[in-house]
Each structure stands twice: as structure tokens, then as C-alpha cells.
């Protein structure tokens, strides 16, 4: 009974994880709750709040992971999420995670949190790296100076995690609230403002001093909730006071060696961001990823294909009923299997992206490529989002939340569906393999290049259309290089790749059954429902020369691009990555039509989940409609050009 009440009580208090971007909040969150959220070595990985449960002895506490933020005066959407959670939801404990190697800046955010509220715990993370760099942090001294519990942690070695848990469950009770003093002039203003705020009952839930400080900093949100706008601005002075205070604290609590010579990060950076080599290295990296995705996975794909073929024959052997055999063998095993064959490609692609993200190279690539992006009124930051689109457009669009310029963000969202995501890859491999044999690699490479070209041109156009070409900014931190740890990479690959398997088991399975049904009834082939759908749209596609099977598969492909592969397989019998079969389709269309079809698949309507996330992130159907019609138009035109030009060659 006693225990029970205790649990319910402690559940009420939520622990919020705050900190600068990339300090290891999600890593700590995973360590505390046993979750497996994606971590990566660049600022802005987490863009939404994620809840988990921490169990410690008899305690059960909710823990919320938040996006990273440098200050509480949020400028981008992900920062607003963190700030709003802290300010409005009032979590029981605010755990600020700091970076042991860069404590000074971490404490700047901590001070802002301490201005707002009590019940703050500081976790100084990455102590393993700090020790290597020669810093010694005196946590007792730090704790004494700040007046809050301080724990030194490392999410990598596990150091301090137990202690952190103990501290967290204890600190749900204490209520220290630290104040430090600004200059006399600022303090006088703060007193006046606090007085004014106290008179307003609707602000009773907030700390007056905090609101006053924010007013002196001319914080927009606080001006809105208090209805007070001052015509003077003390933000610079306040920031300087905070840093002075931090310097004083650190002078007694951190001992560090003077840095001598080049460290590891600088040496690598010299090459990676080199004036001439930088771009070459970037292109080489992209090319290697492209190659890996196709070469290593080849044999694995063939193995899976053979396995599924065997499975199909086995089932075919003992199912007596004709239609049922057709459903299982051609519909389900054929349809889903056609997609499953690409599991190796997709996992290897994510593995490569994972390594790219974990090393810390991504922001460097963004830095190197920023200038060309600027020509499109985008930035290196939006480039990171687009690059993630090669994995999946949905996560790419989500990641735009940390782009602080709203217009740049919208443009990035609207163009990222043109980045060729991993779901389109099965279609390329299958069709290119069938029609172009040994030159399939070149064709696929062309598609990727085309994907980038169309993305760039669309960004230019959309900017001209909607935003009259306003420039964006680039304020981005370059993280330390880190050796990718196997466990993180596996976690990353599994987290992202799993999504593909889930799709295979749900949307693709469902679609395969539906397509099989439509192609089998009322009569197989040209009399089926599938043929009716395709043929009704056929007149529109006469210039492109697509058959009704291809058109129907495009229609279903809007659910998920992989479905194109399963439906083609159902319509044309077994297709194969090794290029051995798919006879039927070869007699129906010419290679240039096949190429034009691939171009169409690359560019046409984003898949449903992508459209849903566009709606969600832009908050408007206007952009969804734009995306649908614009991409259809682009796909049609470019596919037509490809067919015509291809026909001349």
C-alpha cells in the first residue's frame, strides 16, 4: 500500500531533459529509461518531445527528452518546443545536461533555467572526453557554487548514471531557487517590473523575476503574455553578467590544461573542410555511399530472393485451391517479397548514413556546401535535412524544425520529396536491371543526379514564386569528431531500417493483397479491376507510352513507393534483382519508356506519409496541394523529355 502511493506520487513529477544541442540529452534519456531513440553527432537530431519512463528502486518517474536549445529565447521551432515545455508544462524536475568539454556555454542555459525555476539538477555529460582533454571538474565545488545537485556522467561509459538516477528521485522534493545579481541599474528595473507583474493575477503561475528579466531582454513571447513592451533593451548587459558569473564559478571548479598544438579534430578538419579538397571529399563520400548501397547488398539480395522463391514453390506445392495459391504465392509472397529483397540495400544505406551522422562529418559537409546552397537562398543546414532525405523524406522534413528561418524551412520542406528516398530504390534496381543490364548502375546514378538537379531547380523556382528570394542564415555549431561506436550505429540503422520492415508488414502487405484481388477479379489480366483503373487513366499517359499495369502501379505507389514494385511483380509475374526474368514487360515497352517511367517514379507525387508530414509541419493544405500538383507536373514534363530524347538516341 505504502509503496503504491509512493509510485503514484512520484509519477506526477516529470523530469524534463534540457541542454544545448548535441550534448547527449537523448543518450542520457536512453540510459535512464532504457529507450532506444536515435542519437547522432550533430546539433538538431531531436526535434520533438519524447516521453519515457524511468524505473529506479521503487520509483517510477516520467522522463521527457527535448530538442536542444542554446537559450530560452527560442528562435526555431524545435527550440520553441523545448522552451514551451519548460515554461508551460512546468515539469517537476528540470535536468539540464551540460557538456563537460564546454561547460561555460552549457552553464549559460543553466542560468536561464535557474532564473525561471527551482528543482534543477545539472548533469555534466561526456566526462570521458573531458578527462582525455585534460579537464578536471570538481562537482562538489560546482554544486556548492550553483546551489543545485551536480552529477558527472558519461552516456558512453555509463559513469554516473546510477548516481544521476538517485539524485533525480531525491530531488523531486527540494525547492532551491538560485538567484544572482545583475548590475544596480538592471536590478532596479527588475524590482519595478516585478511590482507591475505582481499586480496581474493572470501571471500568478510564473516567476516574476524571470518574466522581468525576459522583458528586459525584450523576449517576444513574454512581451505577449505580460502585455508589457519596454522601449529599452538590456539583453547585452544581462548576457554579459551571466557569463561573468559563470567565469567566476568555473575558475574555482574546473581545472584544465592549456591546449598545445593540434588536436585530433583540428587535424581531420583541416582536410575535410579544405578549400580545394573539401568539395572533392564530399563528392567522394557520396559516391562511396552510393556504391556501397548497391554492391555489398547485391549477393545478400539474391540470397533473399532465392529464399523467397523456395518459399513460394513450397506453398505453391501444397495449396490446392487455385485462387488461394495465386493469392499466397503471387499476391503475398511475390508482392511483399519483391520489396523484402531490398532489405540489404536499405539497411546498408542507413548504415552509411549512420556512420556519416555519428562521426560529426555532416555539419562539415554543410559548411563546405553552404555557399552553393546560398545561391538557392537556402543554407548548409537545409542541406543536412535534404541529405537525410536519401534515407526517408519523412524524417528529412521533420528535421527541418531546427531551421530557424521560417521561409527557408518551407522551401526545404517543399523540395525534399524530390530527393530520392530509399523506398524508390527498389523500383530503380528492378526496372533498370531488367532493361539496362550491365548499364543499370549508370542509369541509377543518373536518377540520383537528376533528383538533385530537380531539387535545386525547384528550390530556385519556389523561392521566386513564394518568397521573392529572401536570404537565410547559417549559425551552426561544428561538433567534435567522434569515433562512431558500433552500438550507436546498429541502433541508428535498426531504428531507421525497421521502419522499412514495418511498412513491408503493413502497407505493402495490405496493398499487395488489394492489388492481387484487383488483378485476379473479375477475371485475370486485361479484364481485371486493375486493368479498368489503369485503362481509365491510359489516355493521359499516351504521350509517355505507359501500359495500364504501369499506370495502376503508379496509382498504388502513392501509398508507398515500394508498392510499385509489388504491383509490377503481381502484374508481370516474378521479377528479379538478378535480372533473369520479367520477360513480359520487356516485350511491352522500349528502354526509353522504361527510363522515362523511372524518372516519373522519382519525381511524381510524394507518398502518403510524406504528404501527411508536409501538412503537419507547414500547418496548411495549401502546401500539400502545391506539392501534389507541382510534382505531378514536373514528373510528367521531365518523363516526356526523357522519352523523346531517349527515342532519338
Amino acid at each position: 500500500m505504502e509503496n503504491h502511493r509512493d509510485e503514484i506520487e512520484s509519477r506526477k513529477s516529470t523530469i524534463a531533459l534540457l541542454g544545448n544541442p548535441n550534448v547527449g540529452k537523448t543518450s542520457i534519456f536512453n540510459a535512464l529509461t532504457g529507450s532506444r531513440q536515435v542519437v547522432a553527432n550533430w546539433p538538431g537530431v531531436t526535434v520533438e518531445k519524447r516521453a519515457g519512463v524511468m524505473k529506479h528502486h521503487s520509483h517510477t518517474v516520467d522522463v521527457v527528452d527535448l530538442p536542444g536549445t542554446y537559450t530560452l529565447g527560442a528562435t526555431s521551432l524545435d527550440e520553441k518546443i523545448a522552451r514551451d515545455f519548460l515554461v508551460n508544462e512546468k515539469p517537476g524536475v528540470a535536468m539540464v545536461i551540460g557538456d563537460a568539454v564546454n561547460l561555460e556555454r552549457s552553464l549559460y542555459l543553466l542560468l536561464q533555467v535557474l532564473e525561471l525555476r527551482g528543482d534543477v539538477v545539472l548533469a555534466v555529460n561526456s566526462v570521458d572526453e573531458a578527462r582525455k582533454a585534460g579537464f578536471e571538474i570538481d562537482k562538489n565545488e560546482l554544486s556548492k557554487q550553483l546551489g543545485i545537485p551536480v552529477v558527472l556522467t558519461s552516456a558512453v561509459t555509463g559513469e554516473g548514471i546510477e548516481e544521476l538516477k538517485n539524485t533525480l528521485v531525491k530531488s523531486t522534493k527540494s525547492s532551491s531557487h538560485v538567484h544572482y545579481l545583475f548590475s544596480d541599474e538592471v536590478e532596479a528595473h527588475l524590482r519595478d517590473l516585478s511590482e507591475r507583474i505582481r499586480g496581474n493575477p493572470s501571471l500568478a503561475g510564473f516567476d516574476e523575476r524571470w518574466l522581468s528579466i525576459k522583458l528586459l531582454e525584450r523576449d517576444y513571447e513574454v512581451q505577449k503574455i505580460t502585455g508589457i513592451t519596454l522601449d529599452y533593451d538590456f539583453s547585452v548587459e544581462i548576457a554579459e553578467t551571466r557569463y561573468k558569473y559563470i567565469k567566476r564559478i568555473l575558475s574555482t571548479s574546473v581545472k584544465g590544461k592549456e591546449k598545445i598544438g593540434w588536436n585530433f579534430s583540428e587535424a581531420i578538419d583541416h582536410v575535410m573542410t579544405h578549400r580545394f579538397l573539401g568539395i572533392l571529399i564530399f563528392l567522394a563520400v557520396m559516391y562511396i555511399i552510393f556504391q556501397l548501397t548497391f554492391t555489398i547488398s547485391g549477393p545478400l539480395s539474391i540470397m533473399i530472393e532465392e529464399l523467397l522463391g523456395g518459399l513460394g514453390r513450397a506453398f505453391g506445392g501444397f495449396i490446392g485451391v487455385d485462387w488461394l495459391r495465386s493469392l499466397v504465392v503471387e499476391g503475398i509472397i511475390g508482392g511483399v517479397g519483391a520489396v523484402l529483397v531490398f532489405v540489404p540495400n536499405i539497411f546498408i544505406l542507413f548504415l552509411a548514413l549512420g556512420i556519416l551522422e555519428e562521426t560529426g562529418y555532416l555539419p562539415r559537409a554543410a559548411f563546405v556546401i553552404d555557399r552553393p546552397m546560398y545561391a538557392m537562398k537556402l543554407s548548409g543546414r537545409s542541406f543536412i535535412s535534404m541529405l537525410l532525405g536519401f534515407g526517408c523524406n519523412v524524417s528529412s522534413i521533420m528535421s527541418t524544425r531546427s531551421i530557424s528561418e521560417p521561409k527557408e524551412r518551407i522551401v526545404t520542406i517543399l523540395v525534399s520529396p524530390f530527393i530520392s528516398c530509399s523506398a524508390r530504390l527498389p523500383v530503380y534496381v528492378l526496372i533498370a536491371g531488367t532493361f539496362f543490364g550491365s548499364r543499370a548502375g549508370v542509369v541509377i546514378f543518373f536518377l540520383y543526379v537528376l533528383s538533385i538537379v530537380i531539387t535545386v531547380l525547384s528550390a530556385l523556382l519556389i523561392n521566386k514564386l513564394f518568397f521573392k528570394g529572401e536570404p537565410s542564415t547559417l549559425i551552426m555549431e561544428l561538433p567534435r569528431y567522434r569515433k562512431p561506436r558500433l552500438s550507436s550505429i546498429i541502433l541508428y540503422t535498426w531504428n531507421k531500417g525497421r521502419h522499412f520492415l514495418e511498412k513491408a508488414g503493413t502497407i505493402i502487405l495490405g496493398a499487395s493483397v488489394v492489388i492481387w484481388f484487383l488483378s485476379y477479379f473479375p477475371s485475370e489480366g486485361a479484364g481485371s479491376f486493375a486493368a479498368i483503373i489503369g485503362k481509365s487513366l491510359e489516355p493521359l499517359f499516351i504521350p509517355l507510352g505507359y501500359t495500364w499495369e504501369m499506370i495502376t502501379s503508379l496509382v498504388f505507389g502513392i501509398a508507398a513507393k515500394e508498392v510499385i514494385v509489388s504491383s509490377l511483380t503481381t502484374f508481370f509475374g516474378n521479377l528479379s534483382v538478378s535480372g533473369s526474368s520479367l520477360g513480359a514487360i520487356r516485350t511491352l515497352i522500349t528502354p526509353e519508356v522504361a527510363l522515362s517511367f523511372l524518372v516519373f517514379v522519382l519525381l511524381y507525387v510524394p507518398c502518403m506519409p510524406t504528404l501527411a508530414v508536409i501538412k503537419n509541419e507547414t500547418g496548411s493544405y495549401k502546401y500539400v496541394l502545391f506539392s501534389v500538383f507541382y510534382s505531378l507536373a514536373v514528373a510528367y514534363i521531365v518523363a516526356l523529355i526523357v522519352r523523346i530524347v531517349g527515342g532519338l538516341l
Binding site: 528562435t75 556555454r105 546560398y374 536570404p471 542564415t473 549559425i475
Partner: protein, 148 residues
Amino acid sequence: MVVPLSRMCEGEMGKIRKLELPPLTRERLCGLGFVSGEEIQLVKVAPFGDPKVFRIKGTDITLREDISMWILVETSSVPLSYATNGEYFVSIINGGMGFRERLRMVGIEVGKKITVTGNIGKRIEINANGILSALSRGQAMRIIVRER
């Protein structure tokens, strides 16, 4: 000498004086450590000349010219090509091994004292511990010196 951050040379250090930027940008930069009195160094220039990486409070931050030109810094170092006659300390040499080696041969090394004896036209004349040499303006641009 007070110059915009964007005018610093690779490797050069300075102290921030003032941020002449709109409040939101300034706030964000404050959170990254851009406050007056703070030491800042230009670490790297991107392949096309912009953006640039600055080191502040031990971290590397990229900024474009549109922001860095509005951040004023006080710097006591200048590229050698701008140095008038007088004594200086060499603080940075931007260049590869070959360039460094050639400079070492004429007594120009990081940390060493040199004297500019003439800076007219296309050549800068240097006396480094008794060794006399003349550098082209382009070469001198890559050597950052600090005033005594």
C-alpha cells in the same frame, strides 16, 4: 584596431566589441558565447570564401558574411601586408609545409620577432634576426603578425 569579424584573416584572433544585429540573432549568438570581451578566432574559410568557422569558448561556429560583418572585433594582429615599419611577432602562418619551410629559412617562424623595414609597392622587406628578405604582397597576406 576595430574591424568587422568578416575582415579577419585565417588564424587571426580578436576580442568581440559589439554585435550590431537584430535582437533575435543577437540572442542566439549570446547563447553561443558571442558577448563583448570574448576572444574569438577565425579558424577556417569555406571553399567559396563564405561561410567561415570561428572558434569561441572552445567551440567552432559557422557564420556567413551577412552576420559576421555586423560583429565588431578588436584585434592587435594584422596581416603582414598591412604592417607599417616596426617590430612585430609572427602569430600565424597560413600555408603548407613548403611555404612554412621557405619562411623558416629566412628566419620567419611563428612566435619569432621580425622587423618590417619597408612596405612599399609590391614588396615587403623584412629583417628577421639579421636575415633580410622580401616577400610579395600575396605571401605577406598569409602571415599574421601581432604588434609589440
